[in-house]
């Protein structure tokens, strides 16, 4: 196996990347290799689907399949090799179906043949081997660094940046698609980019342009996801969320999929089961259509990397709806369930909202007992739901506070959390930000500081939780609106972006920020292993990207620059 797609990848003096029997995330070599082959298969689908679109017979079902398939290959999503073998066979069938559509369209109208020549290349010709050994042999020919000796690390790194950005795009677009929101332009963009990767491109300038167009595609996708979330569940409002449990039977829902949460809330309505959010599901509490369910009682546990301890102590079953799953411990392996793109060997998968086994488990397990809670201390809450509209609603007050000098600076501290020691930089940063500054946050990095008492400035809370990493669109809207109010560009605002990345959704968001021309982002806790020194130099030169140093130094630097 060879994988260097996430922040926690193995870093060695001899070269970075997880390349032994098992990656640091727990992904074994078989699964990693099958994922590489699935990406290859998706490229083949994309090539055919791009042609079908050009011929006027677009196949958005193939697009939806590509989104789902790419989503399964993100860090901490699916670890089940059997699932990947099934997906590989499905992928070949989808590709062949689209190819047949193209042929049928040509029979109907032979003049169009020139406008869309038949695609060629290994991803179009590939047929899945009959057995696992054969599939692994095929996978060995298509790892991300396959061409390294021929094209060099810079080209491989840029291709990886595009691929990982596309994985993030696919994940976000899949979140929207399962809520019933899709767009032709997004499917076309996915086809275009994956087909481009299938051509094994080597032109550095073109690759860099394509990377930025992935960022623009992702902006569309995040806007679509925002429309999906608010369209289905209403506009988030600031909401206090209990982070201490209540007595009674309990189910914990983790991941990002609000549709799964809603389905489960419906299925448990009127029972004695309480539903808790975990990790990135926390912002769900801000949505009117979800908080209307009285049995959505609170949030439990910390960020994803604490799940093995959090889940072991949770007295009910757990549902994982998307990233980020880590190896289920023996104490809760029988009561954790996966759905959607997620999978773990030996863990029961519930497809299509068929949650009956999960609910049966909740009835059988003890839940929180009143006696245990007596010792748990007083009730605590955190406030969520400062989505775009909520913040923009107080924009007037914010602008006034800035003009009056009460708010000196904004810090957007966003992205993923992780287990690495260097990540306390983000809590040090947030808690060390001076009292006349406001901290905006999104993603799960906030679990490091969201129980801290930040206070407020003239009624405006100093910590504004915008939502999931999926809600980056809101952050962009807020920044644009502030820029408009001050009559300047986003780069001229008293705003510093401090981005904590972990996996491929963050790669997509980063590309979006760059595509929007946002400069001077502080990126950490470490830089992506796929960015070579040459690529990094380009990013520093063109976008002023800065690796993080220490929290006090970076705060001071940000405030000096802005002053």
């Amino acid at each position: 196996m060879f994988c260097y797609q996430c922040e926690q990848t193995t870093r060695l003096p001899t070269g970075d990347g997880c390349a032994s029997a098992k990656g640091l995330c727990g992904k074994d070599a078989t699964t990693a290799d099958l994922q590489d082959l699935l990406v290859h298969a998706v490229k083949g689908i994309a090539q055919q689907a791009r042609r079908a679109r050009a011929l006027g017979v677009p196949d958005n079902d193939a697009g939806a399949f590509m989104l789902h398939a790419l989503f399964t290959t993100l860090t901490n999503v699916n670890f089940n090799p059997t699932r990947f073998v099934t997906l590989l066979h499905e992928a070949a069938a989808v590709r062949d179906r689209v190819a047949a559509r193209c042929e049928a369209a040509l029979v109907a109208d032979s003049d169009t043949a020139q406008t869309a020549p038949a695609p060629t290349g290994p991803a179009v010709d590939w047929t899945p081997a009959a057995d696992l050994t054969g599939l692994l042999a095929q996978a060995a020919t298509v790892p991300v660094n396959a061409d390294l000796a021929r094209v060099g690390a810079d080209v491989v790194g840029l291709r990886a940046l595009i691929l990982y950005g596309m994985k993030g795009v696919a994940a976000y677009a899949n979140h929207a698609a399962v809520l019933g929101y899709t767009r032709d332009a997004v499917f076309a963009g996915v086809e275009e980019t994956m087909a481009y990767l299938a051509s094994d491109p080597t032109d550095m300038a073109e690759l860099l342009d394509r990377a930025l167009s992935v960022g623009r595609l992702n902006l569309q996708v995040m806007e679509m996801l925002d429309a999906a979330n608010t369209g289905r569940f209403g506009t988030p409002h600031p909401t206090a969320v209990r982070v201490t449990p209540v007595a009674g039977k309990a189910i914990l829902v983790s991941g990002h999929d609000l549709g799964d949460l809603e389905a489960l809330l419906k299925q448990t309505a009127g029972t004695d089961i309480n539903v808790y959010t975990h990790g990135e599901m926390l912002p769900a509490h801000g949505y009117p259509a979800l908080k209307a369910y009285p049995h959505l009682v609170g949030n439990f546990g910390g960020a994803w990397q604490d799940q093995q301890t959090d889940f072991a102590t949770f007295p009910g079953p757990i549902l994982m709806t998307s990233n980020c799953i880590i190896e289920p411990g023996p104490r809760y392996r029988q009561r954790i369930f996966t759905t959607g793109p997620v999978g773990w060997p030996g863990v029961r998968h519930l497809a299509d909202h068929a949650f009956a086994p999960l609910i049966a488990a909740a009835h059988a397990l003890p839940g929180f007992k009143a006696d245990d809670l007596k010792t748990a201390g007083p009730e605590q809450t955190v406030t969520v739901g400062f989505g775009g509209d909520a913040v923009l609603g107080v924009a007037g007050a914010v602008v006034e506070a800035v003009k009056a000098g009460d708010i000196r600076h904004f810090f957007l501290i966003g992205g993923c959390d992780g287990a690495a020691a260097g990540r306390n930089y983000y809590s040090d940063f947030a808690t060390g930000a001076p009292d006349d500054t406001v901290v905006l946050t999104l993603g799960c990095a906030k679990y490091r500081f969201n129980r801290h008492e930040f206070g407020s400035i003239g009624g405006i809370p100093r910590l504004l939780d915008i939502g999931q990493c999926n809600d980056s669109y809101s952050a962009i809207r807020i920044a644009s609106a502030l820029a408009e109010a001050f009559g300047c560009g986003v780069n001229d605002l008293p705003l510093s972006l401090v981005v904590s990345w972990f996996e491929q959704k963050a790669a997509a968001v980063l590309l979006t920020l760059l595509a929007l021309g946002i400069r001077n982002i502080r990126l950490g806790p470490t830089l992506p292993a796929f960015l070579t020194p040459t690529l990094l130099a380009v990013l520093v030169e063109r976008f002023g990207i800065q690796p993080i140093t220490t929290a006090p130094d970076d705060i001071a630097a940000a405030l000096t620059c802005a002053a």
Binding site: K22, D28, R333
Partner: protein, 348 residues
């Protein structure tokens, strides 16, 4: 005392490392580091803790030939409970990381809810776990076993594989062969009654299903070695696993066959298809099925097979396992397709 570092690589690629003194077994040293390896008898009798020494010097303590033959020991197969390091050791284990507990299991109590003779000298025993503050759910992985203490038996316990799947009613189902003069057998045969309360320990063991794509899963059971196979097959049905499955179920005489109804029910519920192949060793004239041991039947089918070599899950007496291993080797099935559990008497 000299300590050495033991590096243990699990089946799913996790690496664990802990210090081990020269007079400490690997199992004891792991426990001192809060890692509880899958073991049963802890004295070289049962073979539950078999592993392989990839590199390093060690001494093997006394153990039964059935748990680890001299030939296997010469190939650096070891029993973790009988391995004492003489230098840094690198070991590879045939079980997953998840089978290693990081907390000692608390014993629980269960009540006998059914005891039925279902074949010649074979009992189905059903227990219901008591709710001792953590709910009554029976949480285990298909293929694992529990240790049951004989009531008033001075703590004497025996390992039995679970035949059902994890469930929320707290039901534990076992298929148990009655051995003449056996301690647990005696209890079951003469004294056990619905309502009896037993101490149970578990779940334990690393003999569980392995995700290897769509590779066929062939199960080979001797007698009550059927129990973990039934559990695995039932789990496959619950999860709607896509792999084609077949089961070779061997007994000595046709009247010893049991659980045929449950097995028949699986035919319709396994999406990848299921073939049941009962094998009778000493068959009467009216037996129309396979005559011989399941290992013989398997050997013939492996020879006739085309396509991907199956994963083989084998459970029963050591002689059966040895015969299956031999058949698999002769037919070129790779070693990493073989998973087995030995039903050995463990004295404790």
């Amino acid at each position: 005392m000299t300590f050495h570092t033991v590096d243990l690589l699990t089946r799913d690629g996790a690496r664990l490392s802990f210090p081990c003194a020269e007079d400490q077994s690997v199992v004891e040293a792991a426990a001192a580091a809060d890692l509880f390896l899958p073991v049963v008898c802890r004295e070289g009798g049962c073979g539950a803790c078999r592993a392989t020494a990839e590199s390093g010097d060690y001494q093997l303590g006394p153990h039964s030939e059935a748990a680890l033959s001299a030939a296997d020991a010469a190939r650096r197969a070891i029993l973790l409970c009988r391995t004492y390091p003489r230098g840094p050791l690198a070991l590879s284990a045939p079980f997953d990381r998840a089978r290693i507990l990081t907390q000692a299991l608390r014993p629980r109590h269960a009540v006998v809810s059914e005891r039925t003779l279902i074949g010649a000298r074979t009992v189905r025993l059903r227990l219901t776990l008591e709710d001792e503050g953590e709910g009554s759910a029976a949480e285990f992985e298909a293929g694992q076993y529990m240790e049951l203490e004989i009531p008033d038996g001075a703590g004497l316990r025996r390992a039995y594989s679970l035949a059902n799947t994890a469930n929320w009613d707290g039901t534990l189902e076992f298929l148990i062969r009655l051995h003449p003069q056996g301690h647990f057998s005696e209890y079951l045969e003469r004294r056990a009654a619905v309502g009896d309360r037993l101490r149970v320990h578990g779940p334990l063991g690393g003999f569980t299903l392995r995700e290897n794509g769509l590779r066929p899963r062939w199960f080979v059971a001797g007698g009550t070695g059927l129990a973990p196979m039934l559990s695995m097959l039932r789990r496959m049905a619950e999860y709607q696993d896509p792999q084609p499955a077949r089961l070779y179920f061997g007994v000595n005489r046709a009247e010893e066959l049991f659980a045929l109804e449950e097995l028949g029910a699986l035919t319709d519920s396994l999406p990848g298809g299921f073939a049941l192949i009962p094998c009778v060793w000493q068959a009467e004239a009216d037996w129309s099925g396979v005559v011989g041991t399941p290992a013989d039947a398997l050997r013939a089918d492996l020879a006739a097979m085309s396509g991907e070599a199956p994963d083989l899950y084998v459970c029963g007496p050591p002689a059966l396992i040895a015969a299956v291993e031999q058949a698999a080797r002769d037919r070129g099935v790779p070693d990493d397709h073989l998973f087995s559990e030995r039903f050995l008497p463990g004295a404790r």
